[in-house]
Amino acid sequence: MTPKTAAKRSAKPRSAGLPYFTFRRMADGSVLLSNDAGRTAAVSGKDFARFSAGRLGSGEPLYAELAAKGFVREMTDFEGYAAACSKKNAFLGAGPGLHILVMTLRCNHKCLYCQSGALGAGGRGTDMSRAVARKSVDFALKSTNPGITIEFQGGEPLLNWDTLKDSVLYARGRGRELGREVRLALVSNFSLMTEEKARFLVENEVSVCTSLDGPADLHNKNRTFSGGNSHAHTARWLKYFIGRAAKQVPEYRTFTPSALLTVSRYSLGREKDIVDEYLRQGLADIFVRPLAPIGYAKKLWPRIGYSSEEFARFYRNSLDYIIKLNAAGKKIRERHAVIMLEKIVNGGDPGYLDMRCPCGAAIGQVAYNYNGDLYACDEGRMVGWEGDDLFRIGNVLRDSYRKVMLAPASRACAAASSLESQPQCSRCVYKPWCGVCPVYNYETQGSLWGDMPSSGRCALSLGMFDALFGLLKKPASAKILKEWVQK
C-alpha cells in the first residue's frame, strides 16, 4: 500500500459508528449532542470533528463517555435506550390530565397583558352554570389519565363562587365514588377571597395559585385593580395559605400556594426586585414566564411586549441571581428550569404541556368554556374569544369523549406539534425536551405549523436552553441546579 492510499483510507469517515443524534454548535465553540433517549454530551469543536469523522479512538475516555450515553452505534444499550425513551414519553397514551373549567369570563382586574379575554365584573351571561360545571367534571373523569387535575379559572373564578363551590363538592364526591384521584386547583387574584372561602378550599384540598408580578409598584402597574391595591390582596392571602400549609392537620392535606410571574415590558431590568419580592412573600419557587402575543395581549403587544433577545437576557439575569442566592443559602428555584431539569437530568416527564411532543392540546388538557364549549387548550379558548373558533373541539353537553379526541383541531394540534415533522425542530439538539405551540404559531405566523427559524417562541426556547446548558457546564451552578430536582 502506498502512503497516499493509506492516508486516503484513514481519512475516510467511518460513519457506520455514528448512531442517530442531533447537535448544536454553542457560542463558546463547544458542540452539544443529544439523542432520542434524552442523553447529552458537550464536546469541544475539535473532538466533535474527530467524533463525526469516526476518528475517536476506542481507548479514549471521551469514547467511553459517548458510548455510555448512546452516541456510539455499536455500543448502544438497546434496553436502556428504549427504557429512557419510554420514560420520557410516558404521557403519550395517558389521556388528558389537566381540565380547565372557566367559571366565568368576568374579572374585577384589568391586567395589561390579560390573555383571557375577561369582561368587567358586572358583565352578564358569561358565568358557568352548575349543570355545565357538573357535566364538565363528568367529562373530565372520562379521561384515562389516572391522576386528573381540575383547575378552576376565569376571568376571576371567585366571582362565580356558588358554581365553584358546588363543582368542588361534586368532583370530590364523584372521585370518591369512582375511586379516582382528582386534584383540584384554583387560579385566582385573591381580591375576593374571604376567610370562609379560604377555609372551604383548604378543607377540600384545593390548591391555590395566584399571580405575583413583583414588588407592589410593578405588580400594581401590570395588574390594574379599580377596587384597590391588588398586591396587598395577593400578599395577604399568600401569607394565609402559606401559614395553613405550615400547620398540616390529619384530616386533609394542605398545599403550599404558588404564584406565577408574567414578564411584561415593565419587568425588564427588574429581575432582582422581582426575585427578592418572591423571597419576601415566603415563596420557594418563581416561574419566569414570557408574555405571549395571543388573544387580547396581541393587540397590546407594541406597548407591553419585547423581543426574544430581551426576554432571554431577563431570564439569564434572573437565573444567575437565583443561583447566587442559592449559593448564599437562600432556597428559591426557577420553575421553568426545574421543569426542564426534570427532563434533562432525571429523564422524566414533569407534565408540562406546552413543552412536549406532541404538545398537550386535547391529548393533555381540555379547556371548558363557561357555556360548555370545549377547546384544545386554554390558549385556544382565548383565540376563540377573539372570534376564531379554530381550536374548538366540541361541547360538553353534546359531544362524546371520542368525538372530542378525534376533532379536527385535536388531531391538527397533535400533528403540528410533532417535532419530527418540523424541519428545524427535527434536527435541533433541544428536541428531546422542547415543544412547539400551534396556537402561538397560528396567532403570530398564521399557520399551525409555524416557521421555527423566524418564530419568537423558538428563539425564546433556544435562549432558555442555552442559558441552562451554559450553567450546567459550570460545576458550581450545575450542583445547585441538580439539587433542585434531586429525588
Binding site: L18, Y81, S143
Partner: protein, 159 residues
C-alpha cells in the same frame, strides 16, 4: 438595505435536501431562493428580511456554508440510522422492563443478523398497521376511563 447574497452549490457535493435545510435554517434573517443551474449546481440567493442588520446579513454566507456542512452530517447520520431508530422508538413505545440479562455491550455478527431480522419483521408490522387505516388507535387516545378500566368491559381496574 443590505444586498442579496448569491452562493453556488454543487449537487455532487451536497444533496438538494441539505441545501434546502441549510437555507431554511437562516429563515429568521433572510428569504432564500434556490434556482437550478446547469452542470448539477444550484444558485442560492439570500435576500435579507426587513430588520436584519447589515452586519448580520454580511455573516449569512458564512453561516450558510457552515449549516450546509452540518446538514451533510445530519443527513448521513439520519439516513444511516433510519431503520435502527424506528426499531428503537417502537421498542420504547412497547417497553416493558425486563430482568437484566448477561452483558451484551456490542453486537456479534449473529446478534446483528437477529437485529436485522427483527427490524424487517417490525417494518412489516408497521406497514400492515398503516394499511389498516388511521382509525387504529394503539395508544387508546379515544378510549374513555370506562372503556379501559371498567370491570364490566372485562378490563382490570387501575386500583
Amino acid at each position: 438595505m443590505s444586498e442579496n447574497i448569491s452562493i453556488r452549490v454543487s449537487l455532487k457535493k451536497y444533496s438538494l435536501d441539505s441545501v434546502r435545510y441549510a437555507a431554511h435554517s437562516l429563515g429568521g434573517l433572510v428569504y432564500a431562493f434556490i434556482k437550478p443551474l446547469p452542470g448539477g449546481k444550484v444558485l442560492v440567493e439570500l435576500s435579507p428580511k426587513p430588520g436584519t442588520t447589515a452586519a448580520k446579513a454580511a455573516g449569512c454566507a458564512r453561516l450558510f456554508r457552515g449549516e450546509l456542512e452540518d446538514e451533510k452530517l445530519r443527513e448521513r447520520v439520519s439516513s444511516g440510522n433510519r431503520e435502527l431508530r424506528e426499531f428503537l422508538l417502537l421498542k420504547a413505545m412497547n417497553y416493558q422492563p425486563k430482568p437484566p440479562e448477561k452483558d451484551d455491550s456490542g453486537l456479534t455478527p449473529q446478534q446483528e443478523k437477529e437485529l436485522n431480522d427483527l427490524i424487517a419483521q417490525i417494518e412489516g408490522e408497521i406497514k400492515a398497521e398503516a394499511a389498516k387505516g388511521a382509525s387504529a388507535d394503539p395508544l387508546g387516545i379515544t378510549s374513555t376511563w370506562e372503556d379501559k378500566y371498567d370491570p364490566k368491559n372485562g378490563r382490570k381496574k387501575i386500583r
